[in-house]
Amino acid sequence: MTEKQLMRGSHVIGEAAVRAGCRFYAGYPITPQNELTEYMAGAMSRIEDGVFIQAESELAAVNMVIGAAMAGARTMTSSSSPGVSLKQEGISYLAAQELPAVIVNTMRGGPGLGNIAPSQGDYFQATRGGGHGDYRHIVLAPASGQELADLTRTAFEYADRYRTPVMILGDGMMGQMMEPVTFPEPLDLTGLPDKPWKLDGAKGRPSRVILSLLLNTALEEELNWKLFRKYETIAQEIPAAETFMTEDARMVVIAYGTAARIAKGAVKALREKGLRVGLLRPVTLWPFPDRVIRDMSRSVADFLAFEMSTGQMVEDVRLALEGRARVHFYGRPGGIVPTPDEIAGVLHTRYERSGLGGLS
């Protein structure tokens, strides 16, 4: 481990990616994530086999990542909401061709050009397989500087392990925030397992093809079921969530990323007033940690989903609970970042209306 250092969120992702063995980065300027692209430009120039390309578009960037992934490299691209929409073509191909890659989405207000303020409006796009076809990809939602470092390392590990694109879903707040971070030691790339599918020239072996065109419908169905089984395995193995003060909670707020930090402040404030509230923070958005939420419904009858959107993750909360508990929602879309006080007020009102008691 290295010494603790104070770093901006976007730079943390960049440094963690380099230490995770990322050797190819392609990106295109878009606010609020330019600091990551700029960090990678500097970092890659200091690594002998590192490649940085400022691409002509987000489309080109993700397709360059496809090529570098085919060649066996650990690869990353990043953008913000409108740019990630453009990348969806490539993400669908990465999923179909089972290529590992890390995609960072620093979400901003939308739809359309929107604005450059922090938002969580891309949850559906991220968790439902935002491109065409029947696929999913892993989505990780860091909520602190340290977690940006840790989950970036994890993202590269998952991408290789499952041969899938992995998205790190943050927002402008996560990207700009300065927090103390301790990085893991740089990975020794020679210790990584070989990729027996990569394209590096058919010397002394049969030639290989990486494709996604399957005109034979039986083969395409087989690929879809193969991907489905992989997604089932992922859904068994990696769901993760943080719980905070949920042991005796009568109402639990569910929020991720920046919204979870705000909600945590609200929960602390209400606990001081004697309200039995807690926080559940999904760390993996796909696969969604539905088991831990379902288990919690044995003792909790009221959940409140809080998002910086008009309500997207709340659908996964309802699906996880399947009617076992009441699901409330509070959202602030469009780039508005509410204060912990505002969320505390909302929680407090819901708490009382649900008959859980007022101030003691």
Partner: protein, 249 residues
């Protein structure tokens, strides 16, 4: 004792071409296979096929192949080549793929001087989708989306992508050839060899545009298609070395 004077190239698989009778792709595939063998680079070559008729190129070319989304061949090739600079990377793209949906990726790869080779097959039509107007369709030429012929005021002029690429700073060798006669087939093979040699020497972006026949979508016999190339297409797309900063290699 019999002497073998003609055989299947080493890097051509034993599959029967799916291409239509008279199509130029099978000739061009064979030339690529021959050149890879003659330059002894087949074992370190990675090809990037397009979306379009030639998407199945990996059924024929016996080298590592990685399929690109429609038009993105130059970007995918960039990613491969930058990670594996000692390998030989080529794309194989049709006119719709490279000169319409993939224009941006192609121009910028050329401008960066990516050390890759592009084989651009220009037959003036979207073949696999059934004969729609391509960016290279000639004025007056009928297609399923220009039933009365391509009209300048409605459909614009046919584009000359190779000329456009020639003005980029990173391209070093661009030649337009054809495969409608044995003479032109031989010339095309020479151009392909020079393009790959350009890459082997690390000189920059190389491209061979091959004017090719599509009798099916042109609704002609193979013989008429070859005549139409000679008499009509080549007057708009003249065969020539468009850019050569490489010289004799």
């Amino acid at each position: 004792m019999a002497k073998k004077i003609f055989e299947r190239p080493r890097y051509l698989k034993e599959n029967v071409y799916h291409y239509c009778p008279g199509c130029g792709h099978s000739i061009i595939h064979r030339l690529v296979a021959e050149v890879l063998d003659e330059l002894a680079i087949g074992e370190r070559t990675i090809g990037v096929p397009p979306a379009g008729c030639a998407v199945l190129a990996y059924n024929y070319l016996d080298v590592d192949m990685g399929e690109a989304p429609h038009g993105r061949g130059a970007a995918v090739a960039t990613g491969i080549k930058r990670m594996l600079p000692d390998r030989i990377v080529f794309t194989y793209q049709g006119d719709g793929d490279i000169a319409a949906i993939g224009t941006a990726e192609t121009i910028h790869a050329a401008n960066r001087g990516e050390n890759v080779t592009v084989i651009f097959v220009n037959n003036g039509v979207y073949g696999m989708t059934g004969g729609q107007m391509a960016p290279t369709t000639l004025l007056g030429q009928s297609s399923t989306t220009t039933p009365g012929g391509r009209d300048r005021s409605r459909d614009g002029m046919p584009i000359d992508l190779s000329q456009m690429l020639a003005v980029t700073g990173g391209s070093v060798y661009i030649e337009r050839t054809a495969v409608h006669s044995p003479k032109h087939v031989r010339r095309t093979k020479k151009a392909l060899a020079k393009a790959f040699k350009t890459q082997m020497q690390g000189l920059g972006f190389s491209l061979v545009e091959v004017v090719s026949q599509c009798p099916t979508n042109w609704k002609m016999t193979p013989a008429d298609a070859c005549r139409w190339i000679e008499e009509t297409i080549l007057s708009f797309y003249p065969l020539k070395v468009i850019k050569d900063e490489v010289g004799d290699i």
